[in-house]
Every structure is written in C-alpha cells, then in structure tokens.
C-alpha cells in the first residue's frame, strides 16, 4: 500500500520535472535564436584557466543541485553556462557605495563561477566602462535599443525618492534615478537587485531615512530578484542568471524576493560555531578565552540566528573567511532594515527585552517578522508568474512588527 502510494507520488514529481524540462528546452531554444553571439568561447576560456572538462562537469552537478533541480538538468545548466556571456547586462549605480561591484570583481573561486563572471557582457557599467559623459550615455541608449526585452538590468543602489528624486541626478541631462530606473527596467528581461541597497534600501534608508531612499520595487513598482547582502556573495548572482537563461523566470523566491536556493537557510543552522552554541560556550567579550577558542558569538551580538543567507557555506574571497570566522558576529546584512532591527550590532537582541524563552524564542518571532510572514510560494515551475506574483503589494514599514526600536 505504502509502496504504491510513494510510486504514484514519484510519478507526479517526475511528470512535473519532465514538464519543466520541456519548458526549459523551449525557452533555451528561443534564447539561442535571439541572444547575440557569444563574445568568448567558454570552453576555450576554461581551458586557458586550467579548468578541465571534467571539472566543468563536476561544477554543473554542484550548480544543478544548488539551484534545487534534479540531475537531469545538468546538460541544461552546462548550456546555460555557455550562454552566460551572451546575455547583455546593463548595470546601474544609484545611491550606493560600489561595494557590490567590488565584490563582483573580487570573486575568486577556483571554479567556473569566477570565470563566468569574467565573461559577463557588460553593456553599461559606470565603474568599468572606458567611455564617459555623452559617450557613456550613448552606450546606455544603444544597449536598450539593441536588446529590448533581452537584457538583464542589474541595479546597485537605492533610489532616493525625496526632493522629487533630485538627491541623485545622473548623466548629461541630469535625470533622476527614478527616471533612469523606469526607462531601463521597462525593457529588461528581468531586473536583478544586487545588494541590500537596491533590494531593501539599506544604509541610506536606515532611520530616519533623510533622503527617503527606497528599494527599486518600492520606488518604481517593478518586480525584482533580490540578491541581498552588504555586499552579497557574487556566487548567488551567477546561479540566478543561469536560472533566467534556463527558464526565462526567476528562481523560487522568498517573501523578500531573495532566491531560496541561496537565501533559504539560516546562518545559525550552518555555522561552524554552532556546536559551541549548543554546548553553551560563548564569547563574553572580545579577545577572551572563548574568542581564542572559537566559541559562539551570540553574546557579542551575532545576528546569525535571525539571518537567512549562505555565507557560512560559501564564505567570501575564495572561501578565505567570513565575518563569524573572523570572530565578529553576523550583522544580518541580508535582511531588510537590518541597521535598525539588528542594532546595537554588538549586543544580543534578546538582551532588550530579556527574552523569556532565550534566543530560540526570539528567533522564531524575529525570523517571522523579517520574512514578512508570507513566503510567496513561487516555485521554479511557476514560469514568468514567479516574477509577476512577487510584485504584489507588500506590507509597509508601519505594519511590519519591529522588535527593536531605539
């Protein structure tokens, strides 16, 4: 009986995957026809960087699993990787610090992600482009005209909406970031917010938000895929582009627009210091015995229990380190409004008010608040609706319970 039931279930799953595969094939054929030719041959480049065919296949297995797809999708991931450099990217800078671009330039994995990022087809990126002024603006206009509906718009930075948007004016005509964002996103295949500024407003939107800075979605009402973090891990960007190439849709997102494959798990649950938390071994102050022994950082303010991201697994800068490894608590930078909800950054939230149920009780409450309670169920199967459904009205600041007023 039980056996029968499970095989029936398997059949349904398998049917779904085959359907998904059909969608994927149709989409990739369209992309193959429509995208401009590859600027560089991926396999030549991999070879020149000493990545063998075998390494590449291993990488596709890992990436397929990371994107929460079954192994049958491995050839499609490989194909998407080959097409990576064909996607025209328009990268905009608004109210930000360029840290996300820097992170993007500094990724260094001894694997394919890094090489893919090196091949990205940047049609417009102010930090890197040789042209300036009028010639730069012409590059932007040309990219929009040449690739309507086919380019990915990447936005780094929030939009200051105060003063009619005039806290930020750009280009020879002095347009506001609101105008430019509307122009560029309206013809994009998808809009990816890189970093917490474009995703959630971040630092300039921290209280009292003097320039009324907002996320792209809140400022101009378009749906975005949010690669959160301050800065985010560039690896999370690669998988998202691959997914777009395969399905023409965002990967499954959480209620904050973050891809679940990268932001679905809590830092605390995969933290290397977790055993010490479970054993009740804490760092009480910087540089003490616990700090020397790598104990849990909760008491010096670690916000890992409230933060959803894959930092503990992928780390930063070729896996050299990550903040918790460097003995400093997580500050929750992938969560909306973290400068306000997570402050003071070097003290535990549970200290104010003293949580009756200890950290885990706090975690549940805060975790729910931060996730906005509703994880919109956008599966990979949802196709373009994934992008659309995510754009539904969100709770405003006032409605979101705040755990930590100053």
């Amino acid at each position: 009986m039980a056996k029968k039931k499970s095989s029936g279930c398997n059949r349904t799953v398998s049917e779904q995957y085959h359907k998904l595969m059909e969608q994927c094939k149709v989409h990739m054929e369209t992309m193959d026809r429509e995208l401009p030719a590859a600027r560089e041959d991926l396999h030549e480049l991999l070879e020149s960087r000493g990545v063998s065919r075998r390494d590449f296949l291993k990488w596709t297995s890992v990436m397929t699993a990371a994107l929460m797809l079954p192994p049958m999708f491995k050839p499609m991931v490989a194909k998407a990787a080959e097409n990576f450099s064909r996607v025209p990217v328009i990268w905009l800078h608004f109210a930000e610090c360029t840290g996300c671009s820097e992170a993007f330039l500094r990724t260094y994995y001894p694997n394919v992600d890094d090489i893919l990022l090196d091949t990205i087809s940047l049609e417009y990126h102010e930090t890197l482009m040789a042209a300036a002024g009028n010639q730069a603006e012409a590059c932007l206009e040309k990219a929009i005209a040449d690739f309507p509906g086919k380019y990915v718009c990447v936005i780094e930075g929030a939009i200051p909406t105060g003063l009619n948007g005039q806290y930020l004016r750009l280009g020879p005509k002095g347009k506001t970031s609101i105008e430019i964002a509307k122009e560029v996103t309206s013809k994009a295949m998808a809009t990816i917010c890189i970093g917490s500024c474009s995703a959630f407003g971040n630092i300039q939107a921290a209280k009292p938000n003097p320039t009324d800075a907002k996320s792209i979605e809140d400022a101009i009402g378009v749906s975005t895929i949010n690669i959160a973090g301050c800065p985010p891990n560039p690896v999370n960007f690669v998988g998202t582009i691959l997914h777009l190439l395969m399905f023409g849709a965002a990967p499954a997102l959480d209620g904050q627009g973050r891809p679940l494959w990268a932001y679905g798990k809590r830092i605390h649950d995969f933290c290397e210091r977790r055993p010490h938390y479970d054993a009740g071994e804490y760092v009480d102050e910087w540089g003490d015995e616990g700090a020397q022994k790598g104990w849990c950082l909760y008491k010096v303010g670690c916000k890992g229990p409230y933060t959803y991201a894959n930092c503990s697994k992928v780390r930063f800068n070729a896996g050299v380190s990550w903040p918790i490894m460097a003995g400093h608590g997580c500050i929750g930078c992938t969560e909306p409004a973290f400068w306000d909800t997570m402050a003071p950054l070097e003290q535990p939230i549970a200290d104010k008010p003293i949580g009756l149920g200890g950290v885990e009780a706090e975690v549940d409450g805060i975790g729910a608040a931060l996730l906005g309670a509703t994880v919109i169920g956008v599966g990979v199967h949802a196709g373009m609706t994934a992008l659309k459904s995510h754009g539904q009205p969100k709770k405003t600041d006032e409605e979101t319970p705040s755990h930590n007023e100053h």
């Binding site: 087809s121 930090t127 009028n134 020397q292 050299v320 460097a326 402050a343």
Partner: protein, 556 residues
C-alpha cells in the same frame, strides 16, 4: 564666452560626479565639479550606539572599504580614552596595507589605465617588439612572452570584430592625446587583464584578518575580533604567500608600466598639466608604535609647492563651508561644530550647474582658509619636504630612472607616479609588520582587545591616511549615544567646490589651462580627474545635525 561642456557621468570612479568646463579654442578656461548624490549617513548615525558607527560609516564606500571603519573606530577610541593592544594595531596595519596594494593596482589599471592606454592600438602591436620593450623596463616583466601577447591580441580582436566591445565601447580610441606606441599599449593592456586576477588576491589578504572584502568585519572599539586568525601561524603564512604575489606584480608590472608611460607622457608632466592648487596636506597614517608617535606616512602640509618650508598641522584650522554647496549654513565651521542641512537649488534652466551659486552636494574643506590636495602625491610631497629619508630615496630613485626633474611631480603624471611609488613603499614594509606581530605573540602577548565602555559624554577624532588621502572622522557622544558625527574625506578635499573667496577646489583648478585635442571627447579631462582617484560616495556625508530634522524641500 567659450563653449560649456558637460561630462556626466564621469565613469571609472566610485559614485556620481559631474564636471562642467568652459572651453575656448580647445583650452579649458574654467571648471566646476559637482557631486550629484546625497545620502545623509551622518544624520542616520545620530542617536545610535557609537560602537555601531564603524560598521555603518564603512558603507560610505565599498571601494575605500575598511578605511572609514578604521577612522570611526579611532575616533571612538579617542572619545572612549582607550588604546588598542599592539597586536590589534599591527593587524589593522596589515589590513590597511593589503588595501593599499590591491586598491592602487586596481586604480592604475582598471580606473585610470584607459586614459593613458589605447586598447585598439594594442591590436597593431608587434608582440615580439613588445617583449623587448617590456624587458627594457624590467628584467623579468610580469606575464611577458610573445605567445601571451598574441593571445591577448586575439582575445581583444574577437571583441572588436564582433563590434561588441562591452566596457571598452564608444571610448576615445585613436584620440591624438594617446601617446603610447602600440607595443606599450599592448603591454599595459595585458597587465590590465592580469590585474583583474591579482587584485582579487589582495582582497583575500584583507579577508584573512577581516572576514571578507569589501566591508571587513573585524574592528571593534579597543581592538580587533579576529584573534583566532592572529594566533594561527598558518593564517599568517596564507597572508604572506599572497603578499609575495602582490609585491611581485607591483615590482614587475605596475612600477615598470608607470615608468614606461612616463617616458611617453613626460612633456605633459614637465609642462605641469593637471597640477592644480599645488597645496598638499597629509594627516599621516600607519602607526609604527602604539602611541602614534612614528608614522609610516608623515603628517604635515606643503603650501604653493614650497618644498623648503613644510607646514606643521594645527587641527583647529580645518574648516568646511557651504557657500557653493547645497546646504544651508554658508560660513566656515570646524567639524566638531559643523551643520549640514540640505538646501537644494537645482540646475539652471538650460541644464547647466549654477556655477556662481550652489552647485554640489560636496562641501568645501579648507585648511587655514586654503584649498589643499590630498592623496598619494600629497603624502610623497609632504614626506619629501620634511626630508623623510626613505620617501626621499624612493622619489629621487624614480626621478633618476625616468631622467626627469622633481618639478614633474606637480602634474597629472606626477600624481599617478606618486601612487605607484608609495605602493612599493607600503609593500616593502608589510613583511616586517608580520614579523613584529609574530615576535610579540611569541613573547606571550596574545591580547587583541582593551576593555572599554561607552562614556556618558565624550568627543574624539580619528585621523588617518587611506589610499585616497587624508581622512578625518569626528564624533561627539552624549548620554552614551552619538550626538554628532562628521567626516571630512579625501574626495571632499579634492572635489571641493569654490569657497567664499572664490578659490576653486583641486579638481577644478587642475583642469584650468588644459588643452583638449577634441572638444567632443573629454579624454584629457577624465585623465586628470581620474589621477585623483575620485570617490564620490565617500565625499558627500558631511552632515551634522544639531538641527535634527531634514525637511522635505519643495523644488521650485
């Protein structure tokens, strides 16, 4: 009246900068620089825990990552009256040193290089001759072989043939202001590609003790948090291993490439193109002892390029004013007392900046009422004028290698060369610091933090010398909270608009008199502006709010 040209966006910088110039017969007669973004982070700091300030102000800038973090922590330590232990002081220098190495490399190749180097011309280079040329400037040049140069040419050719140049599209290739022969262009372009990888290694050096890059997360008021990494010999080894790779690149690519470029651009340097205000200011940085008595970069100023009479800094003479900035209070103010309330007055109806009125989100910092340039050139000039032996030897050595007189320093070329020189200066010191750290730990000192508490009241300042120049943060604490926060950052000094006396800021002054080969191609403008390594996001956070509220201003 001449023709008004607008360059916006100035690309290959951090942030949002607009330059307007008045041009007559191809010569720039007047110039205005304007920062077109305001974020208001100091307003956001008010009322928060002072210990959070470092992580918050680090978000001024992701290119100058770490440096605002450090300056803020120093300001807090001054206010808390606490001194970090020796290990912490050294580790901060190690992180800062890594920042110098990769940041200057990235600036020269990725942000500034294309102002000197014509990528398209590199395609017509003879790879064999390029190898000979590279060897004339360095015994063992970085990644130098005929096969490699051919591969680089093929890669570039593919882009060009497809008509999809990506970031290299629509630039100024073929402009007569490009002076390098094709072989030199090929050498530097090939290093442009290498530097993409090398700067990643530098970022890893920072991450070893900092947790990540950009935006490390290890400084705390009173010390550092990465005690496990500091006490782990293998981590020190990982750091040193990468240091060697960076130093090798600096010595066999960066320095020879700058000397090579200087050989072809020397006339510009000699005629002083891009010199600017010729006043130089350095706060000094990299403490070599725990009391900051000896600094790697000395503190001081030089006025009107007068190397014979260096000036001692009096901090009380540092002011900021806003007569030409989009803020309310026009009068010069010391940073402890500064106010910054937005007063936006828009552009002219024809879309130009209102050059006679307010025209930038950047304030005008002045020392003793005078505009000063800060940055690598200022550090080298101040050190040279003070007779600092090592700096003098390095500068004189480079001048000798190029056969140029010291006056060549006062130019766009000099600014770019000074940056390369000091990269070597810092790079050569770092290994000694690692040894000092090891010796100290071996002697039994494993302290990385000095216990401290937020004072009820207090005032402090952190002054240091990041890659882009003199940086100061000022904090005032009341009731254990931030009552006031001000930062005067390097790009605020350099990008400054005019002041009450009508004196132009360093960018503006450096453009006046420059000849443009083609008025519709701003190559000479961006070359000089880039030589300062602009960083706008940093520059526009000058706010203090004794008046708390930022009002919504109706735009007329």
């Amino acid at each position: 009246m001449g023709q008004r040209i607008i360059v916006d966006p100035i690309t290959r910088i951090e942030g949002h900068l607009r330059i307007e110039c008045e041009v007559e017969n191809n010569v720039i007669k007047d110039a205005w620089s304007s920062i077109t973004l305001w974020r208001g982070i100091e307003t956001i700091l008010k009322g928060r825990d002072p210990r959070d300030a470092g992580l918050i102000v680090q978000r001024f800038c992701g290119v100058c990552t770490f440096v605002h973090y450090e300056a803020s922590i120093l300001a807090c330590e001054d206010a808390f009256k606490v001194k970090p232990p020796k290990n912490a002081r050294i580790v901060r220098n190690l992180i800062h040193g890594a920042q110098y190495l990769y940041d200057h490399v990235m600036h020269f190749y990725h942000l500034h290089g294309l102002d000197w180097v014509d990528i398209v011309s590199a395609l017509s280079a003879d790879p064999k001759k390029a190898v000979e040329m590279a060897r004339a400037y360095c015994a063992n040049p970085y990644n130098c072989s005929e096969t490699h140069y051919i591969a680089v040419q093929q890669r570039l050719k593919k882009f060009v043939d497809q008509g999809r140049l990506g970031p290299f599209a629509n630039a100024y290739w073929g402009n007569p202001s490009y002076k390098l022969p094709p072989e030199a262009n090929l050498i530097i372009v090939s290093h442009y590609l290498d530097a993409l990888q090398v700067s990643k290694v530098g970022a890893q050096m920072m991450a070893i003790f900092g947790g990540k890059n950009p935006h490390p997360q290890t400084l705390v008021v009173g010390g550092i948090s990465s005690v496990m990494d500091v006490l782990d010999a293998s981590r020190l080894g990982e750091y040193l291993f990468r240091l060697k790779e960076l130093k090798n690149f600096v010595e066999t690519a960066y320095i020879p490439d700058v000397v090579l470029a200087a050989a072809y651009y020397k006339d510009e340097g000699l005629s002083g193109v891009g010199a600017g205000v010729k006043n130089y200011l350095a706060y000094g940085g990299f403490p070599l002892d725990d009391d900051w008595n000896t600094l790697l970069f000395p503190r001081g100023a030089v006025k009107a390029a007068d190397l014979a009479h260096p000036i001692k800094i009096d901090e009380a003479k540092i002011t900021e004013e806003a007569i030409h900035s989009w803020y309310k209070d026009d009068e010069p103010q010391h940073p402890y007392k500064g106010t910054t309330e937005p007063k936006y007055t828009d552009y002219n109806a024809n879309g130009n900046l209102k050059g006679d009125e307010k025209y930038s989100w950047c304030k005008a910092p002045r020392y003793d009422g005078t505009p000063y340039e800060v940055g690598p050139l200022a550090r080298m000039v101040v050190g040279y004028a003070q007779g600092h032996q090592e700096i003098k030897d390095l500068v004189d050595g480079t001048l000798k290698a190029t056969g140029l007189p010291a006056t060549v320093l006062f130019s766009t070329l000099g600014r770019t060369a000074a940056r390369a020189i000091e990269t070597k200066y810092v790079g050569d010191k770092i290994e000694g610091w690692v040894n000092e750290l090891i010796t100290n730990i071996k002697s039994g000192d494993t302290r990385t933090w000095t216990r401290c508490d937020v004072p009820k009241e207090g005032e402090g300042r952190g002054m240091t010398e990041p890659p882009r120049g003199a940086l100061g943060h000022w904090i005032r604490i009341e009731n254990h909270r931030i009552a006031n926060y001000q930062a005067i950052v390097p790009s605020t000094w350099n990008c400054s608009p005019r002041d009450k006396a009508g004196l132009r800021g360093p960018y503006e002054e450096s453009l006046v008199g420059t000849r443009l080969s083609k008025v519709d191609q701003p190559l000479e403008i961006i070359r000089t502006i880039h030589s300062f390594d602009p960083c706008m996001a940093c520059a526009v956070h000058i706010i203090d709010p004794q008046t708390n509220a930022i009002k919504v201003f109706k735009v007329a």
